[in-house]
């Protein structure tokens, strides 16, 4: 859950999510892996920081023991770290700041113990930390996946399979700018930050001259780094996420704004245009936010109370990237939300609308052992492995029953004979022989027959004694099945695309540069001025084509046609148009 509630230290320059380095470091987030699906995020504190009274310095306690941060800092990622003997009794002595309930317990326990007082003595104690047999953790560098599985839940969150697919469909890549609302618990935020990250913007100013864009190619001048613009209207959530962003070194990459996006939109005043090419809306009513995501908007008058004049000209929306297609995803649990969203998307001219649902599951594998050799072992159903084993066991049971019955019968007979004998005694002594015979018989049954039908207790004992030499990890059948708890439904994912704006003028210009219908017609043998198909507008455009462009066009055709076209007798180069 929450990171240690220690005072935040200076914000890290870089993010352990994006550039973790090779070792864990102080003041930076690490994830302690306790066991499968149990992770504890911890911001490692240097020994000098307030330590809740532990003489060992700051300590994280888990069910597998106590881990002084000094044993966790500067370890290669992935290291297995043993728990330490931590004297909880020392709490409350050194640097004890006191925090609510902790103080209470601490002060109860410490009482009059004498503890080293000087700095050296404290350091000495810290160095002498002894390992404990309570267990270990693995120290991992944080990833959005680990964070998602361990973050403090303030809202429903978007889980890994969903956010992976969403970011994939949104084409969020290094250098992309993505808008997200609402930020909620920040699960999606972290994944989005990783997807778009291509360098630390603050550093690019600091270290001028060094290429900060991490990709192979230098960033185009004026191109901004990948960034997540995040919006959340719930104040506490916003504050909590903001401090996580800071603690995680994501400040330059995630910009969080406290805002109701449905009423106020996405424009951030006093800051450069967002120019996002990807949008993710995880809101109860995403359709209400769509009106702020049109290609053109009416600029609000500076006086917020005044209604925008209907006559104000439409201007390009600074929220959207002017030349890239915009990919949007909305994430809603209910089908009614989907229907409304899609209807609004259509009316705003979004294209390629589609909706999908993801189902993801984890699969467990195990060795399923069946057989009577498992009798009495924990968690195994000791039924016969096969028919032979079943028959053998049945025989055994049968035999024992028979033996039991025989014994019963014999006992009865004995008693009978005893009674008879008592009577017969009066008649003389011939019964001794009978008695002896019977005893002999009894011995045989007890010694030989009974041995065959071992008692349950001794059978279990022999199974248990054989256990240590068995290789259980190789026995049985290897099987797999879904984990016990399934997420049947997360949300519906609605996707749509807004292509770049394309006006008639743009089309005419493209026709002029690349040859519109007319070029094709000319290929068909019709020259300029001839009868043209298609719209009349294009023809006029053709006539207006400058000499230079005609030459270029001709040159292009010449290349394609193997040099058949002559152009004013001049040789021309294909020039860069520079646009």
């Amino acid at each position: 859950m929450a990171t240690d509630s220690l005072p935040p230290s200076a914000p890290p320059r870089t993010s352990p999510f994006l550039t973790p380095g090779s070792h864990s470091s102080a003041s930076s987030l690490s994830i302690l892996h306790l066991r499968r699906d149990q992770h504890t995020p911890v911001i490692l504190q240097p020994s000098s920081s307030p330590s809740d009274g532990y003489i060992e310095g700051p300590v994280t306690n888990t069910r597998f023991g106590s881990f002084p941060h000094s044993t966790l800092i500067n370890q290669p990622w992935g290291s297995q770290i043993r728990a330490s003997e931590v004297d909880t009794g020392s709490r409350g002595r050194k640097g004890w700041e006191g925090k609510g309930k902790k103080r209470k317990r601490g002060s109860d326990e410490i009482a009059d113990e004498v503890r080293p007082e000087t700095e050296e003595e404290v350091e000495g104690t810290r160095k002498a930390i002894k390992t404990s047999a309570t267990g270990f953790v693995h120290i991992l560098s944080p990833t959005p996946e680990l964070w998602t599985s361990s973050l403090p839940h303030r809202t429903q969150v978007v889980y890994t399979p969903d956010y992976s697919y969403i970011l994939h469909r949104l084409r969020a890549r290094p250098g992309s700018v993505i808008i997200e609302a609402g930020a909620g618990s920040g699960s999606f935020t972290h994944a989005a930050a990783r997807a778009v990250f291509d360098g630390y913007p603050a550093l690019s100013i600091q270290d001028e001259g060094i290429q900060t864009n991490a990709s192979a190619e230098p960033a185009l001048p004026g191109k901004q780094n990948g960034k997540v613009y995040s919006f959340e209207f719930h104040e506490q959530r916003c504050t909590a996420l903001q401090s996580e962003i800071k603690d995680h070194g994501l400040e330059g990459i995630v910009e969080l704004t406290h805002r109701d996006v449905c009423t106020e939109g996405f424009t951030i005043s006093n800051s450069p245009p967002i120019h996002a090419s990807a949008i993710f809306l995880d809101l109860p009513a995403p359709w209400l936010a769509l009106k702020h995501l049109t290609r053109r908007i009416r600029r609000k008058s500076l006086d917020p109370s005044a209604n925008p004049e209907p006559t104000t000209p439409l201007t390009p929306n600074p929220v959207l990237h002017p030349s890239l297609p915009i990919h949007i995803c909305t994430f809603s649990p209910c089908i009614e939300q989907v229907t409304r969203t899609i209807s609004t998307l259509r009316s705003h001219g979004w294209l390629d609308i589609s909706m999908v649902e993801l189902s993801a599951k984890k699969i467990e594998t195990r060795r399923e052992r069946v057989g009577l050799q498992e009798e009495g072992l924990r968690g195994v159903n000791a039924s016969a492995a096969n028919v032979e084993e079943a028959v053998e066991r049945l025989r055994e049971v049968e035999g024992r029953t028979r033996w039991f019955h025989e014994m019963e019968a014999r006992k009865e007979k004995e008693q009978e004979q005893e009674r008879d004998g008592a009577e017969a005694k009066k008649d003389g002594e011939p019964d001794d022989m009978v008695k002896g015979e019977m005893e002999k018989e009894n011995d045989t049954v007890n010694g030989k027959e009974k041995e065959k039908y071992t008692s349950k207790a001794s059978r279990l004992a022999s199974i248990a004694s054989r256990l240590p030499t068995r290789k259980l990890y190789k026995e049985g059948r290897l099987v797999h099945r879904p984990e016990p708890e399934l997420k049947m439904h997360t949300s519906y994912l609605v996707f749509a695309i807004f292509p770049r704006e394309w006006s008639d003028e743009d089309e005419k210009e493209a026709e002029r540069v690349w040859g519109g219908r007319e070029a094709a017609d000319r290929r068909g043998g019709v020259e300029e001025g001839g009868e043209l198909g298609g719209s009349g507008g294009g023809r006029k455009e053709e006539k207006r084509m400058s000499k230079r462009q005609r030459r270029k066009e001709a040159k292009r055709r010449k290349d394609a046609d193997g040099g058949k076209v002559e152009v004013d007798g001049e040789k021309t180069d294909v020039e860069s148009r520079g646009n």
Binding site: A216, T339, P468, R517, R523
Partner: protein
């Protein structure tokens, strides 16, 4: 580049059948879209992506080619918007042609109301050109199958309507039919499109039937991301660079392309109009992030004249592919303008993609390419003919590149390992897991679950415990009981994800009736860890007390950790706790 369609790039054409066709847009050529007709490449070059074009008819004046018309969003939704307000029962009345993808939403009602509504849509559309009856007849002749049936139906069954309405309706239907039958949308070729196209339209086997959602999830689980220059290099100054991803890719390069896309080295920045490239300048720039390469690359006896820098390898954000044949199969990279056999030096992959064979990895001395070619004194070289000299330098550069790749790969420290192969995974992991840094993720794709179940079993808790308790002789790995060292990977897990697409039309929202079957696609993940040396005990914290790790309610539980005393029964559903 996703803003405008550039000459000579590959684009995806989504046809009315929803099939994708990938073509290269070569200027001055005609592009055929099969039964839907053909168009002139220049008619889409310089236009934005995601627009829908309608193929216009050949006119008498341009017999060779037909023109294109951009279909507006309002036109695409004309029929749907009408239906938006209608209730499901109402829309059921609209004679929807079931199972006919092209024309299933035609408003061919038997009642007058629907016709009128349709009529309204036509009148609203100012771009409609008036058509003559002759034209309609001509188009009717052209239409095939259901399209023609519809027209027949309209013209034939609405005798009651006045001539004008029937005519308008026919015109409308024709246009729509034509739109559905003869239009296409131009999509940028990126990894999502490519994956979708190959899986659905091309050869799924080529990419091991890897689904998009699986590919997306793999990227997250691998923690694939761009690494900025300011990150600390791995291994504390070992100089092997960072952001290094190791791949075993038998998906024809789809994994490599996806990795490249997510670390920002897939696309070549390209001008809209081919310009005369200032090679020197570009080279200088793209080398900026690789100054470190030069310093640790193999000392060069001569500074050979640089033809191009194929020998200079990137330091950040690199992909290393190990292949089983003498050459890797990365054929899909051609859609991103990269030919592995003959790489263009300006393509980022030229320096960021490193390939080596298993032989070069495991026994480089046995590979001739790793053997240093003879060196000659400078004077000797100068005395050679230019051909021989060029040959000499080429050979040396080739060797330098291979040696550098092999040495760097063998040095290990990779940030992640992604595998999609038909080879035995145990042998692959045996040689690659040790090459990972602690904390790195292992991600393996398999179309079927069995190979992954087998691997999970090699990392099971029981096997690991047995391994730790009685480790095999050093150097004897792999053994029969331990095909892999189970202490090197943590939390082995199998995931699967599936995307379920829905039809979302007003009043007709439901999951698609059919979908792709066969391979489900499974992902194995685990984290590379560094086991502590010596004996590790983990008896857990048996003293019941509230723990201070911020785990709140879960804190008081007592859970035994992953390492348990041998002989402890491993049943009870935690046979999978190989965490």
């Amino acid at each position: 580049m996703r803003d405008l369609i550039r000459p000579d790039t590959f684009v995806g054409l989504r046809l009315p059948s929803d099939a994708i066709q990938v073509v290269r847009v070569v200027p001055n050529t005609s592009i055929s879209i099969g039964k839907y007709g053909s168009f002139y490449a220049n008619h889409i070059i310089g236009r934005p992506y995601h627009l829908t074009f309608e193929v216009l008819d050949k006119s008498d004046t341009s017999p060779a080619q037909s023109g294109l018309r951009i279909v507006s969003a309002s036109e695409l939704y004309a029929d749907l918007r009408d239906g938006e307000a209608s209730t499901p029962s109402e829309s059921n009345d609209l004679g929807v042609a079931e199972g006919n993808s092209g024309v299933e939403y035609e408003l061919v009602g038997e009642d007058g109301e629907v016709v009128l509504r349709t009529n309204r849509a036509i009148i609203d559309d100012s771009s409609t050109q008036t058509m003559t009856m002759a034209q309609i007849e001509a188009l009717k002749a052209e239409c095939t199958g259901s399209g023609r049936d519809l027209i027949q139906k309209i013209l034939g069954s609405h005798i009651a309507l006045d001539q004008k309405t029937a005519f308008a309706l026919a015109k409308y239907t024709l246009r729509k039919t034509k739109k559905y039958l003869r239009s296409f949308t131009v999509l940028p070729v990126d990894v999502p499109l490519l994956a979708h196209w190959i899986l659905t339209d091309k050869e799924p086997i080529k990419i091991m039937e890897l689904r998009e959602e699986t590919l997306a999830l793999m990227g997250s689980l691998l923690n694939l991301h761009c690494t900025a220059i300011h990150s600390e290099p791995n291994g504390h100054g070992s100089g092997i660079g960072s952001g290094r991803w190791l791949l075993i890719d038998e998906t024809s390069g789809l994994l490599a392309a996806s990795t490249a896309e997510k670390i920002g080295v897939l696309n070549q920045p390209k001008a809209l109009v081919p310009s005369i490239v200032n090679d020197e300048h570009e080279q200088a720039n793209s080398d900026a992030d690789d100054t470190a390469t030069a310093s640790h690359s193999i000392a060069q006896p001569f500074k050979p004249p640089r033809i191009h820098s194929s020998s200079s390898l990137a330091y950040l954000n690199t992909i290393t592919v190990i292949h089983a044949n003498s050459q890797p199969n990365l054929s899909l990279l051609k859609y991103f303008e990269f030919d592995h056999a003959n790489p263009s030096p300006s393509h980022p992959l030229c320096r960021h993609l490193k390939t080596l064979s298993w032989l070069q990895l495991l026994a480089p001395e046995d590979d001739l390419a790793y053997t240093e070619p003879d060196t000659f004194p400078n004077e000797t070289i100068q005395s050679w003919k230019s051909g021989r000299r060029g040959n000499y330098y080429r050979k040396r550069r080739r060797w330098e590149r291979i040696k550098s790749i092999v040495d760097e790969t063998r040095a290990g420290g990779f940030d992640g390992l992604m595998i999609a192969t038909g080879m035995d995974l145990a042998t692959v992991l045996h040689h690659t897991v040790p090459l990972l840094r602690g904390g790195a993720q292992v991600v393996i794709y398999s179309p079927t679950v069995e190979p992954l179940v087998e691997i999970s079993d090699y990392y099971s808790l029981g096997r690991r415990t047995a391994f730790i308790t009685d480790p095999p002789e050093p150097g004897s790995m792999p053994t029969e009981d331990f095909p892999l060292d189970p202490t090197l990977l943590l939390a082995a897990t199998i995931h699967t994800v599936k995307c379920r697409p829905w039809q979302v039309l007003p009043g007709r929202t439901h999951p698609l009736m059919t979908g792709r079957g066969s391979s489900e696609g499974y992902i194995f993940t685990a984290t590379r860890v560094l086991p502590a040396e010596g004996k590790i005990e983990a008896r857990g914290n048996f003293k019941r007390r509230r723990v201070n790790d911020g785990n709140g309610s879960r804190g008081s539980e007592i859970v035994e950790q992953t390492l348990e005393p041998i002989g402890r029964e491993l049943g009870e559903g935690d046979g999978t706790n190989i965490s």
